[in-house]
């Protein structure tokens, strides 16, 4: 078990996301029923299988499982079938939208943003987690597991920029620090920072590039949140920033990220500029 969790950071991620989904369903009443969740997971796996066949790659269930669990945690819809549609969009985007041999958008992120923009039938409940210290503890614990192996620097950079911006805003407004602290405890934010933004496959290849990327996401999110009062600012900011990743990679070229063991199983893609 220990080896399983250590071997690939995605295993720990799947474990944590599953735990959160179960906790959410049992204790927090998220309003997603088990059958819908199952449909989302199965659709994601099926889409991955089709996409892998199409691209001539070996089927790996881990990435679609993470996308599906993230959707189960975040997406709320007024019809059950929107969940599976989101799963197709999420996993399908990986195969359909690629540049320089890597996918552009975090699958969950782009599926959520697409449905939010194109339909008026889905929503995200950023407040659904409450101000949970328990959740924060779970995510920090998970992050300690995942970060050293994946691209944790972007999470730290993002939390630093975003937290710094919130604290600076509070100081400027003369607000008590309980306000930025309350904003930083938001479960949706922690989930975003812990898992969505740190998806190594869609990040710039160098550390400098990733820090720049984190700053870009934080700046855009700040503008959307505080100039336009957009509650889902983080999701939009991440999707918009992802468009700039190829440019960041060209300016700051580095070695392409691969999940452990993928070089033998999957196809090796040369990094840009080499």
């Amino acid at each position: 078990m220990r080896d399983l969790l250590r071997g690939d950071p995605r295993h720990a991620q799947i474990a944590v996301l599953s735990g959160l989904a179960i906790w959410g369903a049992l204790a927090l009443d998220f309003g997603t029923d088990t059958l819908t969740a199952l449909a989302v997971v199965l659709t994601a796996l099926a889409t991955e299988w089709v996409g892998s066949r199409f691209r001539g790659r070996r089927f790996d269930p881990r990435s679609p499982l993470i996308s599906a669990l993230s959707l189960v945690l975040l997406l709320r819809a007024d019809a059950w079938w929107l969940g599976p549609v989101a799963a197709v969009l999420a996993v399908g985007s990986k195969f359909a939208i690629q540049r320089d041999g890597k996918h552009v958008f975090n699958p969950t992120n782009i599926a959520l943003v697409a449905l939010l923009l194109l339909t008026d039938r889905v929503w995200i409940s950023p407040g659904q987690w409450g101000g949970g210290a328990l959740l924060a503890a779970a995510l920090v614990g998970a992050a300690c597991w995942v970060l050293p192996r994946a691209r944790g620097d972007v999470t730290l950079a993002f939390i630093t920029f975003w937290g710094g911006a919130l604290v600076a805003r509070a100081v400027w407004l003369g607000d008590p620090l309980t306000i930025p602290m309350h904003q930083l405890q938001n479960g949706g934010l922690l989930l975003f920072a812990g898992f969505m933004i740190s998806d190594p496959k869609t990040l710039p290849d160098t550390r400098a590039g990733r820090i720049l990327f984190a700053a870009l996401v934080a700046a855009l999110a700040y503008w959307l949140r505080f100039a336009h009062y957009e509650p889902d600012a983080l999701l939009y900011a991440l999707a918009a920033s992802a468009v700039f990743v190829p440019a960041i990679d060209r300016a700051l070229p580095g070695r392409r990220f691969q999940w452990p063991g993928v070089t033998t199983a999957g196809q090796q893609v040369p990094a840009p500029g080499r």
Partner: protein, 455 residues
Amino acid sequence: MHRVQLRAAAVGAFISCLALASASHAFCGFYVAKADTKLFNDASKVVLVRDGDRTVLTMANDYQGEPGEFAMVVPVPTVLQKEQIHVASPSLLAHLDAYTAPRLVEYHDPNPCEPRYALEDLMSAAPMRSKAEQNLPESAAADLGVTIEAEYTVGEYDILILSAEESDGLTTWLRQNDYRIPDGAEDILDSYLKQDMRFFVAKVNLGEQARLGTAKLRPLQMAFETERFGLPIRLGTVNARGTQDLFVYALTRQGRVETTNYRTTKLPSNVTIPEFVEDEFADFYRELFAEQTRKDGGTGVFLEYAWDMAWCDPCAANPLSNSELRELGVFWVGERPARTPWQGSRIAPQAANVFVTRLHVRYDAEHFPEDLQFKATADRENFQGRYVLQHAWEGSDSCQAADTYRAQLRIRREQEAQTLAELTGRDLEAIRAKMRLDGSVPAPTPWWRNLWPNS
């Protein structure tokens, strides 16, 4: 299942239920409105109509003091024209309040010896009541970096829209003009000023009030456009009078409204509680709310009602008419009476496309540091705070079914006692004593007991 008729208040209409007599399933009722209007004394009521950036805010108060002493200070995003301010009839809010109030529903067990399903339901709703805002008196002009952007008399209110360069000047000006600004409010005023907010300051014009003959202060309304979908509550937490109750009635085209920076939770609903609660529904609901707030750590926002305003089932009050909705600020409904006056059908022929969400927040500065921020979701699933009384059949007929019924009744009553204790935090033993239960539950009837009844 069909509905025959429903009358508004005191006496309800007869409902016939041909479907299964399951309390949790059958949503039919026979209603009596119980006017428990003082349920939450220190509460404010706000109606938020929102579609796109268009917002209409109605603030009601149950201010009981001297009208001359009343004043309110509300941060607003823009300078409002006189036509953007309106005074509404208090009955509108009372109606909306009654329509969305948590309700008590009564069912009567049939005589188990009579092989037919005769079901009669009784329902009563306890609307809630509110009171609001700060207490501030009269003023004159000043020069402390404070700009009086506009000055209107609307109904019985004198209204000023103020902007200021800094909060010091604003606070001084307000205090010089006899507005009682509590200590600690300055920082909050400053924060709003930096966020480019203006202040809507209202007090009562006694002359106008006498002329209009309005004894009670009526709700103030304002219509404006803003990207910000929220409610400033921070000024209200400065007084540190402990917690305060706030009811938000959000009316949208889209669906249910929830808070984005606090968790919105559904209150426990559709549970069967002991019969004696009928006489103390107000206490029950107050205790239930307090207990659920406690369990949630004091940081939760509670959903009490979420429903398409074209209908209700069971109805604590009739849905609001289109003209009432328009007066509340629902600008997208037409003037024509789209609703049938409730004759038989539960669903009005034209959907008014108005979805109401009733949120109840008990807040203080410690647990609610930030102003409430909302979002309208696409969720149109109906929810209501509904509590069920299942009256026992007390006949003396004797038959095998009656024996089984009586045994099951004891189990059910014990269950009701436990539910009540769980919901309200009341002492289980005290509940049992009140219900004359000893806590023991009869042994279940063996499954084979009725297998060969004649053997």
